[in-house]
């Protein structure tokens, strides 16, 4: 594994299998009464979040704590950043305090890579602009493999605002790397023009795609995109691309409905669809902790015996 996780391009297919396998053993930790192993005792993990985030930040915090690392949460409101401190100065400060890993979420694409110029520790990209969100992709892969038993030849559609989605990018790259068949679906204005170069299919016809899927992966569609004229109205978007109750019936038996959250119920997904048993959003969240434990453990080179040691 590389020292940093900035992009899915940083990891090989073998790395991904290793991350998922390691996560498998960490998931068991989450089922114990005492949900903690000493693998990263004495190490410091900083969560540096320039964008609001609930699930990703808490997930990373829990992951680091379950590995016994010291965790510092650095959000931008009410801190030196709110006083106008630059990313560079914040990085140098965290560096001086001895951060072993920095988990960064930022609205600017490339901020995690820029951060690596100023810090010695590992940098984990927790979502940067419209670039990538590799840990989300890996937890999604974990969930698919866990539920369906494989990734190779899996048929996955990623439906929604692909153009602005770092999740869609990382997930597509990771799935293609693992031999899955990916189809991007959405209005043509929200499909990246270079999508064919990703090794994926593109379709504008949700109902044509649904019957051939193992996984129907819905993306959040921000109402903001309507104001920017990417589509004429939320109503029309839902009509053409939303996952309605009727459309769920077109999915093959045993297929999964996934969503990285937070959902816009009534826009990309009907409210009662989100609550169906085949919709595995809560599992994604649970698995996210194990996958992030695995990543922190592998990137920081924790002691292998930490996994099996009860405390």
């Amino acid at each position: 594994m590389n020292k940093h996780l900035l992009s899915i391009h940083d990891v090989t297919a073998e790395d991904i299998v290793r991350v998922l396998d390691t996560a498998e053993s960490f998931r068991e930790v989450g089922t114990r009464v005492i949900k903690k192993v000493p693998a990263l005792r004495g190490r410091t993990v900083v969560n540096l979040f320039y964008e609001n985030s609930t699930r990703t930040r808490i997930s990373f915090e829990l992951a680091a704590k379950r590995l016994s690392a010291d965790v510092i949460n650095f959000t931008t409101s009410g801190t030196s950043v709110a006083k106008g401190e630059s990313l560079k100065d914040t990085a140098l400060t965290l560096q001086a305090m001895g951060a072993d890993a920095i988990v960064i979420r930022h609205s600017s694409s490339g901020a995690p890579l820029t951060l690596t110029k100023w810090v010695h520790g590992s940098v984990l990209n927790a979502g940067d602009g419209t670039h990538e969100h590799p840990t989300q992709a890996l937890l999604d892969l974990y969930t698919m493999r866990d539920r369906l038993g494989r990734l190779e030849e899996l048929r996955v559609a990623i439906i929604g605002d692909v153009l602005h989605s770092r999740v869609a990018r990382s997930l597509s790259f990771a799935l293609v790397k693992m031999g899955a068949n990916v189809t991007l679906v959405g209005p043509p204005t929200l499909i990246p023009p270079d999508a064919p170069a990703w090794g994926v299919e593109v379709s504008y016809d949700v109902e044509g795609v649904l019957p051939k899927l193992d996984v129907c992966y819905m993306l959040r569609v921000q109402r903001e995109r309507q104001r920017q004229q990417y589509f004429p109205s939320v109503r029309e978007y839902s009509r053409l691309f939303g996952l309605t109750r009727a459309r769920v019936g077109m999915l093959p038996e045993g297929s999964l409905i996934m969503h990285p959250g937070p959902m816009n119920r009534g826009v990309e997904i009907d409210s009662d669809v989100a609550d169906l048993p085949q919709a595995v959003m809560e599992e994604q969240v649970t698995n996210g902790i194990a996958v992030r434990m695995s990543l922190l453990y592998l990137l920081l080179g924790g002691r292998p015996e930490g996994v099996s040691t009860d405390e």
């Binding site: 990313l87 694409s109 490339g110 602009g129 170069a197």
Partner: protein, 431 residues
């Protein structure tokens, strides 16, 4: 005090007279002397292996004064220019306050004269406050000496204002309207050229068409008005093709390209290095090659540095928060020599023409650009085409945001003669 100097045995490359030969050049009392002149107290400078050319002329500079003296002043910018072999620069109007009236023009001229390192030919704003709406008092600025008007940083937003400006300046001799062609609605929020690399980096892109739609509009309005249009820093192959056709048609259209658009491609942005963030964006290898061809065949007339200094703390930030621009005065000649002359894309005389004679003509800088003949003002650059160096800060410029940082270039200015005086000698500024 002017120097009496004999530059002995240089290769004199002077496109204005067509000369390219080994010769002595003698300078005294601020002007070129006959080669056999023996002025009193003459200093001999051995120039064997060096090239002597008319002083370079930059038609597109940002000196940031008045307003952002933390980034550059007229003096520091002129020193950078002199070290780069330039004897004349044209600072753009987007200062704070904007150079949209004679008072600011006079201030910049005075600061240039005080620095005494090169001639300064300020560009005036086309519209008040470069706001794109109300025409500035162009006539007053023409009286103050302005020959080129531009709202550089942005295009004139409406065809009507551009039409009026191009028509209005026909009242004055040889006045040029220079356009920065980017359609803000198509380029909106764009951080780099839109294509494979912008998609991979997750950065919002500016398609070629954001430049081309305005090049097309501007050429059409130039045809409508008969006005003299100059297109700044072209970046796309499609723009070049339109200029080629406009020239074939006989329209009064000229064009510029920057060294960074001639050298780099969008693949150079993969590390999110903000020194490559420029407007218009650096595009693909195909675009770069089209720009090179166009410069060689005369479709593009001049090289302009678009020297755009920015403070370190403004550039050492997240890519989408950095201001656009790279400095270029100290690297322009070496970049052109290394990347265009050495590989045989431009002849050396053509390189000097696009860096000196042609921009001097464009700006109406009659004392610059050659010919190097007895009686002419002595504005000269002497450089070593073989001297290899690695570009790195510090620079004479007050800023260090240079796209060429870390690269190796060949070609180093040895002497710069401005109005007969050695303002740079042995590669060092003398004031």
């Amino acid at each position: 005090m002017s120097d009496a100097i004999r530059f002995r045995g240089a290769r004199v490359v002077d496109p204005a007279s067509g000369r390219d030969e080994i010769a002595d050049v003698v300078v005294a009392r601020g002007v070129i002397q006959p080669p056999d002149a023996e002025p009193k107290g003459v200093t001999e400078l051995d120039c064997t292996g060096l090239i002597l050319a008319p002083g370079l002329v930059d038609p597109h500079t940002h000196l940031r004064e008045p307003g952002r003296e933390d980034k550059e002043t007229v003096e520091t910018g002129c020193r950078a220019a002199a070290l780069g072999g330039f004897t004349a620069v044209s600072p753009m109007a987007n200062t704070e306050p904007v150079a949209d009236n004679a008072a600011v023009i006079h201030e910049v001229l005075d600061l240039g004269a005080k620095a005494g390192l090169c001639d300064v030919f300020p560009v005036g704003a086309i519209t008040k406050g470069v706001g794109g709406e109300a025409m500035a008092e162009l006539g007053e600025m023409v009286e103050a000496g302005v020959r080129v008007f531009s709202d550089d940083g942005h295009a004139v937003p409406t065809g009507r204002v551009l039409r009026n400006a191009l028509t209005y300046v026909r009242a004055f001799e040889d006045v040029v309207i220079a356009e920065h062609c980017e359609d803000d609605s198509l380029a909106a929020d764009g951080q780099m050229h839109e294509g494979e690399h912008s998609y991979a980096l997750g950065l919002a892109g500016k398609p070629r068409e954001s430049e081309e739609v305005l090049v097309a509009r501007d050429i059409a309005v130039a045809r409508l008005t008969g006005g003299r249009l100059h297109l700044l820093h072209l970046s796309s192959a499609g723009s070049v093709e339109m200029v080629r056709r406009a020239k074939a048609e006989g329209l009064r259209v000229t064009a510029e390209v920057t060294p960074h658009h001639l050298v780099f491609t969008d693949a150079d942005l993969v590390t999110y290095d903000t020194n490559f963030k420029v407007n218009p964006p650096i595009r693909t290898a195909e675009d770069r090659d089209a720009l090179r061809t166009a410069l060689a065949d005369g479709t593009i007339d001049v090289v302009g540095t678009d020297h755009a200094p920015h403070a370190v703390e403004e550039k050492e930030v997240e890519f989408d928060q950095a201001p656009p621009g790279t400095i270029g005065l100290e690297t322009a000649l070496a970049a052109v020599l290394t990347h265009l002359v050495e590989p045989g894309i431009l002849s050396l005389p053509r390189a000097i023409e696009v860096l000196s004679a042609a921009p001097a003509w464009l700006m109406g800088a009659a004392e610059h650009g050659g010919p190097i003949e007895p009686g002419r003002p002595a504005n000269l650059a002497v450089f070593d085409p073989a001297a290899e160096w690695v570009v790195e800060p510090p620079f004479a410029s007050r800023s260090r945001n240079c796209a060429f940082n870390g690269t190796t270039l060949r070609g180093k200015v040895v002497h710069t003669v401005y109005r007969g005086e050695l303002v740079v000698t042995d590669g060092k500024a003398q004031r």
